[in-house]
């Protein structure tokens, strides 16, 4: 069994120093500006994003010439952890910082880098993911959105769905078919950076279970994208999407979405738990601690420039299983009727998590897809 690379990793001293720095920033933010149980990494708050960026916590690993901080992936890792642990409303810059920015830095044109990255790093430019389509879902190779060659660029036609925050972000990275379908389903796809203020884009809201408007359906009708807003070369889309998904799957956001609920549970139980409460909390903490090490180990691989696709699939599969289980254990240990408007923070946190939990095992790839990838890594496919 030598299929996976999860090497032990000890965080260096500069990561601990960064942890102290971001924690001080977040304590101040929390005291003045937000309630931890009511927000998370998907809460869209541009003001928070600008302040976090001004303090140096966005675009941390990027070169200085693009507004980055030239920090290591491990320093970025601890900042991500602390944002999640504090329930910080990081949703505005999250996607841009986690995956779109790194994609553009690595595979974008020089003009795209210069135009976009400094604005992301300043906390002023946000992104959405344009992968899924009606009828495509997890089968990304089935995308039908087309990109046709025209003078100086491409015309995009088609529709994307489940696009988080399309109505308030500046750009979408759209996966489209730039060549007619062939026998190789993964060939002929390309990724484009599409400005949401372009002509020919229509955005329609889709409301989620908790009543929130995050999702959208996005229609493209002869939407023009200049040549230098393509990511990579024509036809490289599949490789680019796969690389981007590794960023999306490996981070601590894959098992810390509802971590404030665990914090609230510990608070409610108090210093003297019953035997059963202690055992269940101990079990959750042991799972959580293992996940932290898996995820930090991937940060180490990224730091070395490796692309850990199978490992990322493992973190997401094991991580979201933990996320899904947490509210179920919480409601057994401490029965409270969940309510979104109850002033009691525990009731509210539980309601929030229950209504969001179904999405944990959808976004970024379903367990069914991930397990197929893991099986390939194991040599079964």
């Amino acid at each position: 069994m030598r299929a996976f690379r999860f090497e032990s990793l000890v965080l260096p001293p500069e990561a601990d120093a960064m942890r102290r720095k971001v924690r001080a920033f977040l304590e101040n933010e929390r005291a003045q500006r937000y309630a931890a149980h009511r927000s998370s990494w998907s809460t869209f708050d541009p003001e928070f994003s600008r302040r976090a960026a001004a303090a140096g916590f966005v675009g941390m690993t990027w070169p200085k010439q693009y507004g980055g901080g030239e920090h290591s992936n491990l320093e970025r890792f601890v900042v991500t952890e602390e944002m999640l642990a504090a329930g910080a409303p990081s949703g505005a810059h999250w996607i841009a910082d986690r995956q779109s920015g790194p994609q553009i830095l690595k595979h974008g044109s020089e003009r795209a880098r210069g135009l976009i990255l400094p604005r992301i790093a300043a906390g002023e430019c946000y992104f959405g993911i344009g992968m899924s389509e009606p009828d495509s879902g997890s089968d990304l190779a089935a995308v039908r959105t087309k990109a046709d060659r025209v003078e100086g660029g491409w015309l995009i036609n088609g529709a994307k769905i489940w696009t988080s925050n399309a109505h308030r972000v500046h750009y979408l990275i759209v996966l489209a078919r730039s060549e007619p379908p062939s026998e190789n389903r993964h060939a002929g796809l390309s990724q484009f950076i599409v400005d949401t203020s372009s002509e020919g884009i229509e955005i329609r809201p889709i409301h989620n279970l908790s009543g929130g408007h995050e999702f959208n359906e996005v229609f493209f009708r002869n939407c023009f994208v200049p040549d230098d807003m393509m990511i990579g070369k024509p036809g490289e889309g599949w490789a680019r999407v796969t690389g981007e998904l590794a960023f999306e799957r490996a981070g601590p956001d894959r098992f810390m979405s509802d971590i404030r609920l665990l914090v609230e549970l510990i608070n409610q139980i108090g210093a003297e738990p019953t035997e059963r409460q202690a055992i269940e909390i101990g079990r959750l903490v042991s799972h959580f601690a293992a996940l932290r090490r898996m995820s930090s180990s991937i940060a180490g691989l990224l730091e070395r420039g490796e692309s850990p696709a199978t490992e990322a699939a493992l973190v997401k599969d094991v991580g979201t299983a933990f996320e899904r289980e947490l509210p179920e254990i919480v409601r057994k240990l401490l029965p409270v009727e969940a309510s979104l408007d109850d002033p009691d923070e525990y009731s509210q946190a539980l309601a929030h998590v229950l209504l969001h939990a179904p999405s944990f095992t959808l976004r970024g790839g379903t367990p069914e897809i991930l397990r197929g990838m893991i099986a390939r890594g194991l040599g079964l496919r």
Partner: protein
């Protein structure tokens, strides 16, 4: 890994491959001490792997010793080698000389306690301990005992001085015995226990051994299952091509990866068990994974894995036994839960995330 460790690993792997066979394992399960294997292991210096060179040992890093323990478990080595490695380190840390021969540890059970008393003739050791690995078969037993004031001591007892009440086997058919102590010890055989043992005796060290072993055992089970899934044809194709089998083994691999991550944390401390909280996480997460991995691997093997013909059971039965020894999951989970609740909700995250000094 440095050159020295690479040599040790290569040597150990070769040695295990050469000496471990189905016959050797079956004989050991029948109660025969595998002396040729022990001689080879001892000649290779493995019992002294964790003892610093200055104290007469081999001086391997903790991470390398962890890998060695995993390899012994991968091959189902039917010997208390890990116990001997740890015993040598504890005894030399306490100021003693390296021990010759095989050693086991006691007590291994959270309910068992040994008492040490001063008498006219010297020091007397009393008490009964259960489920001691290879109890009565090793050359010596290293015991942790407390005196009337609660102060901890390590005592070295020759096996022939011990009354072996019950000879039993765990579900892996490894010998586990009930030992009764009621004897006077020469002064040189009793030493104040190192500081890191004062709070909880040997529990963390034993749990760390079993956690490392479970990693090796899980790896062996998964290797068997993957090989079998790619070879065994049903409905016209290898069963590994069926999505249901792929997903079942992918979930098992997830448990294995998480267990490895939890247990890897032990390698960061000098003696593999210096921080009891880290041991608790490792033993709890690993024990849970071991059950899941064993179940999935047996399912993949169908009825063949349920026979003594196929070697899967040498690894899987060890997993079932090891997850319960030196504290099962619930024992360690409860410890974690009580500690975390005492820190409070807002203390939980900093306690987990911040570096903290190791005990001892």
């Amino acid at each position: 890994m440095d050159d020295m460790s690479a040599i040790v690993f290569e040597q150990a792997d070769r040695l295990f491959k050469q000496h471990i066979s189905k016959d050797v394992l079956s004989a050991a399960e029948g109660g025969t001490w595998p002396s040729a294997l022990w001689e080879a292991v001892a000649d290779a210096g493995l019992p002294l792997a964790l003892v610093p060179e200055g104290a007469g040992g081999v001086g391997l890093q903790a991470a390398d010793v962890a890998q060695l323990i995993r390899r012994t478990a991968y091959y189902s080595v039917p010997l208390p080698l890990a116990e001997t490695m740890i015993a040598n380190r504890l005894w030399t840390d306490g100021g003693g000389d390296v021990l010759s021969g095989s050693v086991t540890l006691a007590p291994v059970n959270p309910r068992d306690h040994l008492i040490i008393e001063q008498s006219r003739d010297g020091v007397v050791l009393r008490g009964t301990v259960h489920h001691v690995p290879w109890g009565g078969q090793t050359d010596t037993v290293l015991v942790f005992a407390r005196d009337g004031d609660g102060k901890g001591f390590l005592a070295l007892v020759q096996s022939h001085q011990v009354l072996v009440n019950g000879r039993r086997r765990n579900v892996a058919y490894e010998p586990r015995a009930e030992l009764q102590f009621d004897l006077a010890l020469p002064p040189g055989n009793v030493r104040p226990a190192p500081k890191y043992l004062q709070a909880n005796g040997l529990m963390a060290f034993g749990a760390a051994i079993r956690a490392q072993q479970m990693i090796g055992g899980m790896e062996r089970c998964l290797d068997h299952a993957l090989t079998y899934a790619n070879e065994r044809v049903q409905f016209g194709r290898p069963i590994g091509k069926f999505q249901a089998i792929q997903h079942m083994l992918a979930v098992a691999a997830g448990h294995f990866a998480a267990a490895c991550a939890a247990v890897d944390a032990l390698s960061e401390s000098e003696r593999l068990a210096d921080d009891e909280f880290t041991v608790a996480i490792a033993k709890a997460r690993c024990g849970e994974a071991a059950g899941q991995v064993a179940a999935a691997c047996h399912q993949a093997h169908g009825a063949m894995g349920f026979t003594q013909e196929h070697p899967l059971h040498f690894a899987s039965r060890r997993l079932w036994a090891w997850r319960d020894e030196w504290g099962a999951e619930t024992y360690w989970q409860e410890k974690i839960g009580r500690l975390i609740c005492a820190k409070g909700g807002e203390g939980f995250w900093p306690f987990l995330a911040d570096p903290r000094p190791l005990t001892g």
